[in-house]
Amino acid sequence: MNLMLVLAAESTEDPPNPVIPEVNEIVWAAIFFIALWMLMKYVLLPPIQRAMENRSSTIQGDRDAADAATSALGSTRRDYEASLAAARSEASDIIAAARGRADEQRAAKQAEADAEIAELRRSAQAEIDEARASALRGMRGDVASLAVGAAGVVLGRELDAGSQQSVIDQALAAD
């Protein structure tokens, strides 16, 4: 501001007004700007914009393809996981069925074995009982002979084993 005041004060003539434009400068400004504008509109800008749009569309196309591939990959993965899950389920069913059959077979075998054991046990018991009865019968005769013999010795006379049999049987039955 001081500079302008000093400039104004020292000047004897009115300086040209800087706000008033010169005609020749207006003409050249108009010529050059309008020329640039028209060139920009019809020659300079279109190839640049086309190249940018082509690049954008190429990038967009590649991005869409990548998205499609990603989507396909996801679908494939889902299919694979579904197949895997189905196979696992089927395997689990097969294992469960096999396990059931094995359990049934084991139970059947177990029952069969138990029945066989019981049969063996019964026949063994019968044999034991028969042997025991036979032993008792044998022992009873021997005991009667010994007892009759011993009694004859004590009494000093010979006893008839047949007539003493009922007494011996009563004694053995009392035991």
Binding site: N2, L3, M4, V6, L7, E10, S11, P15, P16, P18, V19, I20, P21, E22, V23, N24, E25, I26, V27, W28, A29, A30, F32, F33, I34, A35, L36, W37, L39, M40, K41, V43, L44, L45, P47, I48, Q49, A51, M52, R55, T58
Partner: protein
């Protein structure tokens, strides 16, 4: 011009530019300002022509520069101020931005050291072109009723139109183009005078063998203001262009 111990150049040095071509013509006398305007035409033309020769998906060299400019104007100006339907005005807005920026940046380029837009001619021409453009866009898209919509904005109580309509007429049809031009012109002229002042001050301080601290301080100030003016050149080009986009956007969608 003596101010204390410092001799300033006369103001005519900023205003009067002798012609070196077509000297006798009143309309086509070609001076340094015309040369700066010519560079504002030539440099973008060369850059974009060289950029158009490039091919391939990845931009290189001049293509990078051209696409960077187009991308910047598209995203920061067109999309921000108009929207997707503003792309048809890309040629105008790109031309404005580059022409103004190159007309400003000569302020800090040796040999030129004068912003072309510190002269009123280019800002006035550009502001008038923008003025004609947004009015024609408004009338083309909204019919002649656009003028009425601007002068008689809806939603205002009827008695207030006595005040509002003249104000809208003045602000939109008279002051707007003037302020559009003067904003650019005055900023660049003020910046140029600032740089001249610091340059003259530097010469005076160095000539007077002043203290080294004063010399360093003055020269640092000149460097700082030079860097500042680079930023101002860019910002003024951006402001002028985005205001143009805003005016066009308002003309396209007056109800917004």
């Amino acid at each position: 011009m003596i101010f204390g111990a410092v001799e300033f150049p006369p103001i005519e040095n900023v205003i009067e530019w002798p012609a070196f071509l077509f000297k006798d013509s009143d309309y086509f006398a070609f001076n340094k300002i015309g040369l700066i305007y010519g560079l504002g035409f030539l440099i973008p033309t060369v850059i974009f022509l060289l950029a158009a020769r490039g091919d391939g998906l990845v931009p290189r060299g001049f293509r990078t520069v051209a696409e960077g400019i187009v991308e910047f104007i598209d995203t920061q100006i067109v999309q921000a101020a108009i929207g997707p339907d503003g792309r048809r005005y890309m040629p105008l807005l790109t031309s404005l931005f580059l022409f103004i920026f190159l007309g400003n940046i000569t302020e800090v380029i040796p040999f030129f050291q004068m912003p072309g837009n510190a002269r009123m001619a280019a800002p006035l021409v550009l502001a008038l072109i923008v003025y004609a453009t947004w009015i024609s866009v408004g009338v083309k898209h909204n019919g002649i009723g656009y003028i009425k919509e601007v002068l008689v904005p809806p939603g205002v109580p009827k008695p207030l139109y006595i005040l509002v309509t003249p104000i809208e007429f003045l602000s939109n049809f008279l002051i707007r183009p003037f302020s559009h031009a003067v904003r650019l012109f005055a900023n660049m002229l003020a910046g140029h005078i600032l740089l001249v002042t610091f340059s003259v001050l530097c010469i005076a301080v160095f000539s007077a063998s002043a203290l080294i601290v004063v010399e360093i301080g003055t020269f640092s100030g000149l460097l700082a203001f030079t860097a500042f003016e680079v930023g101002v050149s860019l910002i003024q080009a951006f402001v002028f262009t985005i205001l143009t986009a805003v005016y066009i956007g308002m003309a396209l969608h007056p109800s917004h």
